[in-house]
Symmetry: C2
Subunit: 670 residues, 2 copies
């Protein structure tokens, strides 16, 4: 028997350190002053709304997970059922933990902003870092535990599948929630009644603030938890037939990535320059450099192949490149956003066509990056290398999430500052913090999409590996095989179908919200006029958004899973492989298109608001607002859910592969 190696113990140790540091930062945040009574009241209302959403989400999820786990335990493997439950529980725990701190960091950031940027930035950033560190901590700890118990990566697959179920609920459900509240608050408040954004008279304003937390904090955290776990498990499965060493590598690299992220988080400082955007980016770059050095050293010490390290580096570098090009297509000071703003002069239709067109073009550099990364990684270390490149991209995810979760915290802080009537200067500080969040978000979003792309390619490869374990034969999913081809043709339609269902869901749910907001303004005397002591019924709006989001999400998810299972039972493994390829391809395409054109419309609008082409209130601005509203469900609901969707579909295929091999209609008929 080959030596199993013990170096992978680095992974659980790093994970525990990560959780420990997360707890310290949690304490750091909660010890800060939460401001005056008005501020605490608002923060409390947001917290109650977010907790209500999580509670309901977790309840539905619990039923869903129980059914799935039973199915898995009965049909596939008795141990895989508990692993599935454990995966969704770990993801839920990380999300819960991260959101709870965000709900405390927001009001404290607002309060500290009174003393300036240098006081408030660390609270917001460290609040975000708790989410980052708990995601990687719980993910790696969970994986390590299952691996230690079973030494079987396919059991880890069950864990990953559980995490993906949680991600689908949190990301797509949160995405529907946040846009329901956003559109509802804006359309009645800003457009119909002309009251400012974040005005406390608006009954949907708390739901809107809650939305930032459940969508952008908890949802984003679960999404990256999911991709991160999937990338690790994919590499483990690809390494299984090569021996223990190859299953240990991803764990070691993940552990070193955690260490790098912890150090990166620790050294982020705004310094004298007072530029928080620069501080965030510097943190990311330092984490990258640390990760490269640490993994290189580990490769030498543990005698890993240097090509495998190379593959991870390819992933890391292409993640940065994809981030930078994404930034070009969405930034407020670049040609695409400016031209889209300019085109708004001829009306909303041309604004939309222009933004959509640039979105279509923006897909090219990212996919070229993924194509190049996968090809080079493959040349270096075969299909295992592709998995490692995904893992390389995702290794620094602790730091990435920290920067990402920082965004909604400062966004919330700004909202609280405005609603509680803090001084103009304080709001200015919050604005600066907010702008830095947007810049950081563009780069991290590129990372997330690129990583998802490489991860699902690795999952496709590991699907083939699993099929080989069952049938003893490598299937190559040749496009010129009629079953594969039919699968691909069906697969490419599914991401669009899912997007359409959730976007239509947002529309329906926003309609309900609008009706409720209108009702309150009509029926509550003195509300519109802002009479002292008159308060809207925030809770009913929170409730509509919560119920609606989960109600609209379920059909879309169930349809996607049913189609996947149907393709497997009808066409068998070849059709399913083609189908996976198809969903991956069009999933990436639409995810990039929707994220980038949505961001572009947003910034084109902001460019006009900054004074161009007549500025705020002009006809050009109105046209740009329509584009921005189209972009909202693109970039915040459908687009980001697609990463999760393709991971879920890939995992459904992998977990149930053994059934599809045994029972499928085409084989039965021929």
């Amino acid at each position: 028997m080959i030596s199993e190696g013990v170096e992978w113990i680095l992974a659980p140790i790093s994970a525990m350190i990560s959780i420990g540091v997360g707890l310290l930062l949690f304490r750091y945040v909660t010890k800060k002053d939460a401001g005056n009574r008005r501020m605490q009241e608002i923060a409390q209302a947001i917290k109650e709304g977010a907790d209500a959403f999580l509670k309901r989400e977790f309840t539905i999820l619990a039923y869903f997970v129980a059914v799935m786990a039973t199915l898995i335990a009965v049909l596939i493997n008795p141990f895989m059922g508990p692993a599935y439950i454990f995966g969704s529980a770990c993801s839920a725990l990380a999300g819960f933990f991260g959101m709870e701190v965000a709900l405390r960091a927001n009001v404290r950031t607002a309060n500290a902003s009174r003393k300036g940027l240098n006081s408030s930035f660390p609270i917001a950033f460290r609040g975000g870092a708790v989410m980052g560190l708990s995601v990687v901590g719980f993910a790696v700890l969970g994986i390590s535990l299952i691996y230690a118990l079973t030494r079987d990566p396919e059991m880890v697959l069950g864990f990953s599948f559980g995490a993906s179920a949680m991600a689908l609920f949190a990301k797509a459900g949160g995405g529907i929630y946040t846009k329901t509240a956003d559109i509802g608050a804006d359309l009645v408040g800003k457009v119909e009644l002309g009251i400012p954004e974040d005005d406390p008279r608006n009954p949907a304003v708390i739901a809107d603030n809650v939305g930032d937390n459940v969508g952008d904090v908890a949802g984003m955290g679960s999404d990256l938890f999911d991709s991160y776990v999937a990338s690790i498990v994919a590499v483990m499965i690809l390494g299984e037939s090569l021996g223990y060493k190859w299953m240990n590598i991803p764990l070691v690299f993940a552990g070193l990535g955690i260490i790098s992220s912890i150090i990166g988080v620790a050294i982020v400082r705004v310094g004298k320059s007072g530029n928080p955007g620069k501080a965030l980016n510097m943190g990311t770059y330092i984490t990258c450099i640390l990760f490269s050095s640490l993994t290189f050293t580990a490769t030498i010490i543990f005698g890993y192949n240097i090509e495998v390290w190379g593959a991870a580096m390819v992933g890391l570098i292409s993640g940065v490149i994809i981030g930078v090009t994404t930034d070009y297509f969405t930034s407020i000071d670049r040609a695409p956003a400016k031209k889209t703003a300019e085109s708004s002069q001829t009306g909303a239709a041309i604004n939309i066509i222009t933004g959509f067109s640039y979105g279509l073009i923006s897909v090219l550099p990212s996919l070229l990056g993924i194509a190049a990364a996968s090809f080079i990684a493959w040349t270096l270390a075969g299909v295992y290398g592709v998995g490692m490149s995904a893992l390389g991209m995702l290794s620094i995810v602790g730091m990435i999430i920290a920067g990402d979760a920082y965004g909604p915290i400062v966004d919330n802080a700004k909202g609280i500052a405005e609603q509680s009537g803090l001084h103009e200067e304080v709001i200015d500080v919050c604005d600066k913090l907010d702008a830095a969040g947007n810049t950081a978000k563009a780069i991290t979003k590129g990372f997330a999409i690129g990583a998802a792309g490489l991860t699902v390619l690795a999952l496709l490869a590991s699907f083939r590996e699993i099929v080989k374990d069952i049938t003893g034969e490598y299937v190559n999913f040749a496009l010129m095989n009629p079953l594969v081809l039919s699968g691909v043709l069906i697969g490419i339609t599914v991401p669009g179908l899912f997007s359409a269902m959730v976007m239509l869901g947002v529309g329906r749910n926003a309609f309900r919200m609008i009706e409720e907001v209108r009702r309150q303004f009509r029926e509550i005397p003195g509300l519109k006029e802002g009479v002292e002591g008159v308060k809207p019924d925030y809770a009913s709006c929170v409730d509509i958004a919560t119920k609606g989001a989960l109600m609209e999400l379920l059909p879309a998810s169930v349809v996607a899973i049913i189609i996947t299972v149907a393709v497997g039972f009808i066409g068998g493994i070849r059709a399913l492989g083609g189908y996976l390829g198809g969903t991956i391809l069009s999933g990436l395409l639409f995810a990039l298109l929707m994220a980038n054109s949505g961001g572009l419309w947003d910034n084109a609008k902001k460019y006009i608001e900054a004074g161009a082409y007549g500025g705020k209130g002009s006809e050009t601005h109105k046209a740009a607002v329509i584009g921005d509203t189209v972009g909202d469900p693109f970039k915040d609901t459908a687009g980001p859910s697609l990463n999760t969707l393709i991971t879920v579909i890939s995992l459904v295929a992998s977990v149930f592969a053994v059934l599809f091999v045994k029972y499928n209609l085409v084989e039965y008929l021929t």
Copy 2:
């Protein structure tokens, strides 16, 4: 040597009959009364504009074709160069012929409408039939001639490649032209000045009418010429290794399809019911039945395999099914259009999200149809069967085009009737004719897209066949091969890139047109007021649309071709095969999405105009108009050009395959 069979002689004989009948119908149309002086003046202005466009288009095309033909003759095969020229010439001839009769049929239809529907319908329909019969006639005659001379289907491929060059210019160029003129005329005329559509004071009104002819008549004819030829040549290449009989089958089936179409055209009559839509559909169904019976008889007589006949029938039936489902998603009286209209109440943004979402959903049934058709055809007769199913779908294209070209003729007739101030009743008759055209168009559009899908799959297979002839080895384009995968990832971005470039081109060109129309209203005294004798400068608008369309088209086409060639020279045959697969998949996806959501927005607007939700002029209507304007370049420029684009890319790959096998970077480096 195996008997070559002479039955294929049926093909050129049918083709000559088709051209002959086309000439008779041409005479029938021209003999009709062209109406009063004012009507003839308008028709003359449209004709001059259309001829000017064609002349300029043919001039640029001539240079392009000369360069390409030389390259092909020098690099590939000296005979293939002339075949390429011949292909583009035949396609140009068919387009020219069809457009000339359309330009005469429009005014004569308008004039005959004074005597009622029964007098005007035959002129419009037979005018359209000339295009249908000349397309199939010139296509099959050209193919037969080259086949008779060389007996080598790869030379026929050169012919097909030439036809596709023409199609790209005519379809995409015409598409940019028609939307430039449409948006220019509407934005200044209807929106800024509030004058009615088709008002003779509007300088862009003639350009708008010209657009219908160059885009919807000439462009559509070239597009289907291209698909039709490609489907025949793909089957011939797939049959080459099986023997002469297998190369004859597609020719015989095409010939019988022509005969069926001629009979179908001959028996279309409105009858007493006075329902032109029913008459058009009846013609299509009768042609289908005739084709099935004739080809079944031929299969028995000539001893062909019955499975091959079955494959052709699968294509025919799935074409009808795709047409019917497309109809559901775009029809004015179905749920998607009604719900999109309803959603317009909450503004333009929700209208756009709703229409786009239904467009995404509409892709599923069509691709399911193509997947099922290709799978069944493959099971029946292998990859040859897939080619036959495409051919089966396209076999009745003579009839399809007749119904399609009827649309713009009656549209033009309506415009002429309005501009020359004919009686309200006459315009009513034209309206009825027009509505029938829209219904027929939905079904024929489904056919065209379905056929394009199957054709390019057959082209992918024939590409593999050509590669096998060169290398002696069958390549399967396995998704799990890194080169193939990189190719697919790049390929899926190209249709979006092309769409974006032409849509941005429409935006830029419309901007120029708007400036010119504004200038004329400003500088020509009495124009706005409609002073007797004051005329706008129609020609300058026609000129802007013409120049701009060709100028904006070239970069998009050149970029698409360069990327294709670059992938071939860098990645070799495997990367190129994956790339083809990728462009086909995303090309189909976007073609269906854009065509259907565009049609849906159009009909949602019309539904409101018919009186729903406040009717014309309401805020809801304004929101729906924005959606319709977004849909215009979707459905009339980018969407329909994608069929042509993927055919062109497939043919570039096939024709230059021999070079990519010899010279490619990846092989050189490894």
